[in-house]
Subunit: 246 residues, 2 copies
């Protein structure tokens, strides 16, 4: 998050490059794209006011989510979008939007025209590969969410999500278990875990009580990473982090 903030393009190069390094030549090419960075406040619905149909948008800083609404009007967040992710990758080949995107914090979005990204992917196999790899990782995360929501109780689910976010939002140069800012409200946590805000509150208390986390003003501190991962049945394998860094 911090690195991405320095320059919008560093974000793209950063996450793409973690999959497959892009040469400086490519970077110059990226800079020459007809793209610019937009800012959105927390709560913005990007589909409507944000990304035009002919653009891809990459999250450069901040936090967003994908969500769907059930028939009774209850919301379910289906994935968390972190800096480096492309918001509307599925426009690559699919017509219908099957979910909505909403920001969870103030966000910067890098716009890339449809044509430009396709061109980039065609010309540079490493870019295409990075895009495919990011889809596969997203799929793997979705599968883990299905497991967690389907088979873990509320406390375990929450601990699991806090572990996941720790790795995604925390400063990666520090050991896991550092404190991090969690911009999501308890209602949004509930929407992500298929629970009610009331119960999220109780489970947060429970984790705090057992000294698995400290939680104050939407700041999470993890005294003992190992114990939290145990409480959350968390194993980072599904995030495929090693694939990013090689």
């Amino acid at each position: 998050m911090s690195k991405a903030k320095i320059s919008p393009l560093v974000g793209m190069i950063d996450k793409l490059a973690r999959h497959a390094p892009i040469s400086l030549g490519d970077r110059a090419l990226l800079l020459a794209l007809p793209s610019k960075s937009h800012a959105f406040n927390a709560g913005s619905y990007l589909n409507r006011e944000g990304i035009a149909a002919d653009n891809y948008g990459m999250l450069v800083s901040g936090l967003a989510c994908r969500h769907k609404i059930s028939g009774e009007g209850i919301r379910q967040i289906v994935s968390i979008v972190t800096p480096g992710d492309i918001l509307n990758l599925q426009q690559l080949y699919l017509e219908d939007a099957d979910h909505n995107i909403q920001t969870l914090a103030q966000c910067e979005i890098l716009m890339i025209s449809r044509r430009a990204l396709h061109q980039l992917a065609d010309d540079h196999p490493s870019v295409a590969r990075a895009l495919v790899a990011s889809m596969l990782v997203e799929l793997s995360i979705a599968r883990e969410w299905i497991l967690s929501i389907g088979r873990h109780n509320a406390r375990t689910r929450l601990a699991h999500l806090l572990c996941e976010l720790a790795l995604q939002l925390g400063n990666p140069s520090l050991a896991p278990g550092q404190a991090y800012e969690l911009p999501m409200s308890q209602e949004q946590l509930a929407d992500a875990l298929g629970l009610t805000p009331v119960h999220i509150n109780r489970m947060l208390k429970s984790l705090v009580h057992d000294n698995l986390i400290n939680y104050k003003n939407r700041r999470v501190n993890i005294p003992d990473w190992h114990r939290l991962t145990e409480a959350g049945n968390f194993n980072s394998r599904y995030l495929h982090l090693s694939n990013h860094s090689r």
Copy 2:
């Protein structure tokens, strides 16, 4: 399913071609691949005894699923694999297997060597496009499952799954709402929906009682498609079927 059974390769061409037509020349190329079809009984674990590390496997006939096991040893099925799907696409770029694959019926698998598929995708943009599109559809389905498991009650979840399977397993040339064979046991349905077998049984009874389905000997009959979709909060948009047929 039926069409795929005629010839293993028709299956691949079938589903791939639904995304982007492949010429007969390509088909000949496919036939020339070092591939052959294997058969597996219901319950086979494909990772172990099936697909070698250097092969991709495409389900040609039958039914399979991807599943994960929670810390307490409870199973969650995270997706259903239907004929035409490639079982281990994520080997494309990711190292770790984050889930297991198990057959739900007797299956035929078409083996394709890693090199051959990569070559095919490199040489034929339509193949590459079809592979990417299938990933995006799988992702969309996973998101819908998260919504369903997270926010629907048991009855709605079950109705939703029965609708989904009707479109995936039913004879596509007939109107939705036809009867179809559902090879899954009630325990497997429970694993797919994050419920217990006992409760699946009760909810099946409930749907039968309200005349939303007939269910006998693992055969599902849907008297009124519209009513079942309402009960299951089902809208086929997330399956992106139109993308297949164009």
